[in-house]
């Protein structure tokens, strides 16, 4: 088992398809994370329980999450389907679901933005050869205006209310997971999915949407922003590699730790798990332990932590939640370190570290060299 280096959990085509769909959802949110962070910082600073309460400045909080963030998502989603025209119609259609609902319309924006752009794309394709010369601009503007306006009306009447129910339903599902203390089990799904490069899909495609809806509530924060982004579990695995990993890999661990924990690029630790897949148990246990601490101490973040750096956690933790936040990150790292170290045999014993991963790495090197000998003509190296 341990020699399988590349993830092949499902049929390879299925994995790529899931990645692609997830990447698509995340792709609507990720370019706009800066706006989420601006909203989070303003919230943490100026709400009545914030650092420097200010009623005038706190009036920014509501409109940003109600209008700006969903509009940006709908705009970006439309742009991904049909360029600038798609972006504009995506924003118009998103406005409909925003007005037609009482909850933050992230989910609605993710549906309406691409859908509106797709319909416009179909329209543009159908009529591109049929427009008389000189009427292109007229048709171009009025097609967006009429189709977009119609979709906005549809959003107010039908789609907004439907998505409101859907969002509330998912929100109460998550809420009951939290109140019944089973939310740590989320790590069982999140941690393996992460190393299969579904990290963005889960965090920004799903958790941001649910977290954003939850964070609009009175508490102005959500634990959901912490589930995937916690840098603790990955830190534990990298530390274990540094102390007990195959000797050839130990020197690479400190650099990876800096990039992962401070830079927030979690991808850096995925290969360390993929080369010894049983280490996924370490991040699952670490992740679950961290979530349990976050949940027990009742902490959350005010906005998505992206990248998942400890600095992002620090800046987005609301006043009063610091102890729980740090405790959760440290516990996650600690549990993950202990489990990973045990799985690595503490660097000794019959299961001596240097076994699979290193031979595997050496095999690859040898193979790569052999390939380069065949592929690279004489004098190339």
């Amino acid at each position: 088992m341990e020699t399988t280096f590349t993830p092949t959990v499902e049929g390879a085509g299925v994995k790529a398809t899931i990645q692609r769909i997830g990447g698509y959802l995340a792709g609507m949110v990720m370019p706009n994370i800066g706006a989420f962070i601006a909203w989070g910082l303003i919230t943490a600073a100026f709400i009545p329980t914030g650092w420097i309460p200010n009623t005038k400045l706190a009036t920014l909080v509501g409109p940003i999450i109600t209008y700006l963030l969903p509009l940006l998502i709908g705009y970006t989603g439309g742009k991904m389907v049909h360029g600038q025209r798609g972006a504009v119609i995506g924003a118009i259609a998103t406005m409909g679901v925003i007005v037609g609902s009482s909850v933050p319309m992230f989910l609605g924006a993710m549906i309406m933005g691409p859908l509106a752009a797709y319909l416009l794309l179909k329209f543009d394709r159908a009529f591109e050869d049929k427009i008389k010369s000189g009427f292109e601009m007229l048709v171009g503007n009025y097609s967006i205006g009429i189709i977009g306006g119609g979709l906005a009306l549809l959003g107010v009447w039908v789609i907004g209310p439907v998505v409101t129910h859907l969002t509330n339903w998912m929100g109460s599902g998550v809420h009951s997971l939290i109140t019944h203390h089973v939310i740590p089990l989320a790590a069982v799904i999140i941690e393996p999915a992460k190393v299969l490069f579904l990290n963005n899909a889960i965090n920004h495609g799903v958790l941001d949407v649910l977290g954003g809806a939850a964070a609009k509530g009175a508490s102005h924060k959500s634990i959901l922003f912490m589930l995937e982004a916690n840098p603790g579990p990955g830190l534990g695995v990298l530390l274990a590699y540094w102390f007990f990993g195959p000797k050839a890999l130990r020197p690479s661990a400190p650099g990876a730790i800096i990039i992962h924990f401070f830079g927030g690029i979690h991808e850096i630790y995925f290969p360390y798990i993929l080369m010894k897949p049983r280490l996924i148990l370490a991040t699952i246990c670490g992740g679950a332990a961290g979530i349990a601490v976050f949940s027990a101490t009742g902490v959350g973040l005010v906005a998505p932590a992206s990248p998942g750096s400890i600095f992002a956690f620090i800046t987005e933790t609301p006043k009063g939640d610091y102890i729980g936040m740090f405790l959760g990150v440290i516990v996650a790292a600690g549990v993950s370190l202990i489990v990973a170290s045990a799985l690595l045999g503490f660097g000794r014993g019959p299961d001596v570290s240097d076994s699979e991963a290193l031979t595997d790495a050496q095999d690859r090197n040898r193979k790569a060299k052999a390939e380069s000998k065949i592929a690279v003509p004489t004098g190339a190296l």
Binding site: Q19, N199, I268, V376
Partner: protein, 102 residues
């Protein structure tokens, strides 16, 4: 499998899922190593690899998506974000000449 002579490589693209995180990091690394050559190094999301790219590098876990986006392009999968032999091989080929296989 497509391949390309390193002298024909004008644009090297490093792709990751979002094109915002790990690919940016590796691209800035590779850029440093290719300083002095005329090769343009870019980072993009794996589903939006530009058509004028000559060589694409991405993590093995994403290679299938890259191949779906650009079936005829030279796609070099790697496994480690630091010090992967596949990445080193491409850089050496560009610097010293040789063929890059997808």
């Amino acid at each position: 499998m497509p391949s390309i002579e390193s002298t024909d490589v004008k644009k090297l693209v490093i792709a990751c899922d979002a094109g915002m995180g790990s690919s940016v990091m590796l691209a800035s690394n590779v850029k440093k190593q290719l300083k002095g050559t005329s090769v343009i190094v870019e980072h993009t999301p794996v589903d939006h690899i530009p058509a004028d790219a000559d060589v694409v590098m991405c993590h093995a876990g994403l290679a299938e998506r890259a191949r779906k986006t650009r079936p005829d392009m030279v796609i070099v999968p790697f496994r480690l974000f630091m010090g992967d032999p596949a990445v080193t091989k491409v850089i050496n080929a560009i610097k010293n000449g040789g063929t890059i296989d997808g």
